[in-house]
C-alpha cells in the first residue's frame, strides 16, 4: 500500500493515470506525445506505477500496451475512505469552509 501512495504522490504520474483512464492501451511513445516530459522520465514514472500495480501491461507483438489498473485504488478506498461515513465527511468539509472563511474575512 505504501507503494501506491508513493506512486500517487506525483502530479506527473497522476496525469499518466488520467490519460490511461481515457485512453486504455497506449504505448510508451503514445503516452509521451502529450506529456511535457522526456521519454526517459515517462518511462521511469511508468515503471514506478507498474511496480505499485497501478498500471498493468500487455505485450502485443513488439509493443507494450499500458492500462490503468484501479484495483489497488479500490482497496485503499475500501480501507481508508468508505469507513468514514459520508455525513462526517460533509461535517468536516463544512467545518473547513467555515474556518477558511473566517480567516479570509
Amino acid at each position: 500500500m505504501d507503494a501506491v501512495f508513493k506512486a500517487l504522490a506525483d502530479p506527473g504520474r497522476r496525469r499518466l493515470l488520467d490519460r490511461l483512464f481515457t485512453s486504455p492501451g497506449l504505448t510508451l511513445g503514445q503516452l509521451c506525445e502529450e506529456m511535457d516530459m522526456s521519454r526517459q522520465a515517462v518511462s521511469q514514472h511508468l515503471a514506478l506505477l507498474e511496480d505499485a500495480n497501478l498500471v498493468s501491461t500487455v505485450w502485443r507483438g513488439r509493443e507494450k500496451l499500458h492500462f490503468l489498473n484501479p484495483v489497488p485504488i479500490h482497496e485503499i478506498y475500501d480501507r481508508w475512505v468508505k469507513k468514514f461515513e459520508r455525513t462526517s465527511l460533509k461535517a468536516l468539509e463544512q467545518l473547513k469552509k467555515q474556518l477558511e472563511g473566517e480567516r479570509h474575512d
Binding site: P24, S56, T57, F67, N69, P70, V71, H74, E75, D78
Partner: protein
C-alpha cells in the same frame, strides 16, 4: 469498428485452483460476487451470470477456453442484448503463481468504447476483484461491497 479493452491485475495470497474455483463454482462466487456463474465450462457451452437472490441471468455468453486452473475465457453480453452478435465482449482470466502469490489478470476486451457495458465493467471489476481477494485471504468478502451492492 474499434473496440477497447481493460486489463486488471491483482496479487492474491492463495492457490491457482482456489481462484479458478472461486470463479466457476456458484457456492463460492455467490459469497463475494453476489452472482453465480453457471456452465459446464466446456468450450462452446453457454454460461450465465446469475443474480444470487433472484436466480435471474444478467450476463450471458459462451465458453471459449477453459484450462483449469490457469486460464478461462468466455464471451460476455447483457441478457437484453444477447441476440445482437455485436454486443458481445470477451473476458479472459489468467491465473499464474508468482513469488509465493498468485497473479490474477482479468482482460476484458472487444468492448464498444463508451458503451454502458464498458462503464459498467470498469466500475465492477475493481470491486469484484477486491472482494475476491478479501474472500480468499480472510474467508470473508468485503462487507462494504455487499452493502453497496444490495442498496442498488
Amino acid at each position: 469498428m474499434t473496440r477497447t479493452e481493460h486489463v486488471y491485475v491483482m496479487y492474491i495470497d492463495s492457490t491457482a485452483s482456489r481462484i479458478f474455483d472461486a470463479i466457476v463454482k456458484p457456492e463460492f462466487a455467490r459469497q463475494y460476487w453476489l452472482h453465480e456463474n453457471h456452465s459446464d465450462w466446456k468450450p462452446g457451452s453457454p454460461w450465465e451470470h446469475r443474480d444470487r437472490e433472484t436466480g435471474q441471468a444478467k450476463i450471458v455468453g459462451k465458453v471459449v477456453e477453459s484450462s483449469p486452473p490457469h486460464r478461462l475465457v468466455f464471451t460476455w453480453a447483457a441478457v437484453a442484448e444477447a441476440a445482437d452478435p455485436n454486443a458481445y465482449s470477451r473476458v479472459t482470466f489468467d491465473i499464474e503463481p508468482m513469488d509465493g502469490m498468485v497473479k490474477l489478470t482479468v482482460t476484458h476486451d472487444q468492448l464498444i468504447p463508451g458503451s454502458s457495458m464498458e462503464q459498467g465493467i470498469t466500475n465492477g471489476w475493481p470491486r469484484v476483484l477486491s472482494s475476491l481477494k478479501s474472500f480468499l485471504e480472510t474467508g470473508k468478502p468485503l462487507p462494504i461491497w455487499v452493502k453497496a451492492a444490495s442498496a442498488r
